[in-house]
């Protein structure tokens, strides 16, 4: 299943790396429910959010500058940062 990472740039604590925002990848596996770090960081009672591992092709992330287009990056992204493509 293909997903795109939201291209948002909030000023506070988030765990979605900037270089993956706006990029499209494939869900590698679903890991389960975890506390939302964006609430945890500020001591607000955290909601449970689904965490997914998403696989991105280097060519998608870095475009023509990719070191090797077929290499991949895998990262854990919370569901509220993802939309189905």
């Amino acid at each position: 299943m293909k997903v795109r990472v939201h291209n948002n740039w909030p000023p506070g604590h988030v765990r979605t790396p900037g270089y993956l925002r706006g990029k499209t990848g494939e869900i590698e596996r679903k890991i389960g429910l975890f506390s939302n770090p964006e609430q945890n960081a500020y001591r607000h009672a955290p909601e449970q959010r689904e965490l997914l591992r998403v696989r991105f092709k280097m060519s998608e992330v870095w475009g023509a500058n990719a070191e090797n287009p077929n290499d991949v990056i895998e990262a854990e992204i919370y569901s509220h940062w993802l939309e189905a493509v």
């Binding site: 765990r15 790396p17 270089y19 975890f34 077929n70 990056i73 895998e74 990262a75 854990e76």
Partner: protein, 217 residues
């Protein structure tokens, strides 16, 4: 006031493990060391933690080392049932082996002739510390954190690891709650050796993915 003055810890000297000493007990007290003592004593005085807990936690961390991971890898190389359990849930499989990894969530990723895995944390310095101990300094550096996701092959060559274009590099960015251990490929020359010997072939770097397993030197 008595204190242990140890001239062998003068600046520039080398510890038994071959690394330079950090400023320690017999050097001028820094502001941040002062703060560490104050925070620790306040937390103990107010009953949040005990001095014994602190010592036990230090002992627990000191006991964690890459050797733990090497034992996990060597068993995975030789025990297909364990390997399957490890790939399914690495945290549970390592706990079942008897390692105290605390609340850590762990994923094992396996190298092959076609795939090479390497682990980084671009946002901070997440590392499977409850299995392998504290991370090496380079793992926490700007150079490694910045470059591992954009030019992993170039970074790996700086560790002496040159990969064929046919091998897919998979970079794992530890962005959230999972920690990662790479299961390096078993070198042909090590096949058939007993597990206690195999453990010596598994390096810390091979479990981060910046090196390969190799014969003990």
């Amino acid at each position: 006031m008595p204190h242990d003055h140890n001239d062998s810890q003068a600046p520039g000297t080398i510890s038994p493990s071959g690394h330079p000493y950090r400023p320690d007990d017999d050097r001028p007290l820094t502001y941040w060391q002062n703060m560490e003592i104050a925070v620790r004593e306040l937390l103990v005085e107010k009953g949040y933690i005990t001095a014994l807990q602190i010592q036990n936690q230090i002992d627990t961390m000191d006991a964690r080392s890459p050797t733990n991971g090497a034992n996990v890898v060597a068993r995975a190389w030789t025990d297909p049932e364990f390997k399957a359990a490890l790939m399914n849930d690495a945290a549970q499989a390592t706990r079942d082996m008897g390692f105290d990894i605390g609340p850590m969530h762990l994923i094992a990723v396996e190298n092959s002739d076609m795939v090479h895995n390497v682990v980084v944390c671009t946002l901070c310095s997440c590392y499977p510390r409850n299995l392998l101990g504290l991370p090496p300094d380079w793992y926490k550096s700007r150079a490694y954190r910045s470059r591992a996701v954009i030019e992993p092959r170039k970074v790996l060559t700086e560790f002496g690891l040159v990969l064929s274009e046919n091998v897919q590099v998979r970079v794992h960015d530890s962005t959230a709650d999972m920690r990662y251990i790479v299961i390096p490929s078993q070198p042909e020359a090590s096949k058939g050796l007993p597990v206690p010997d195999l453990v010596k072939w598994v390096t810390r770097d091979s479990m981060i993915g910046v090196g390969k397993a190799h014969a003990p030197t």
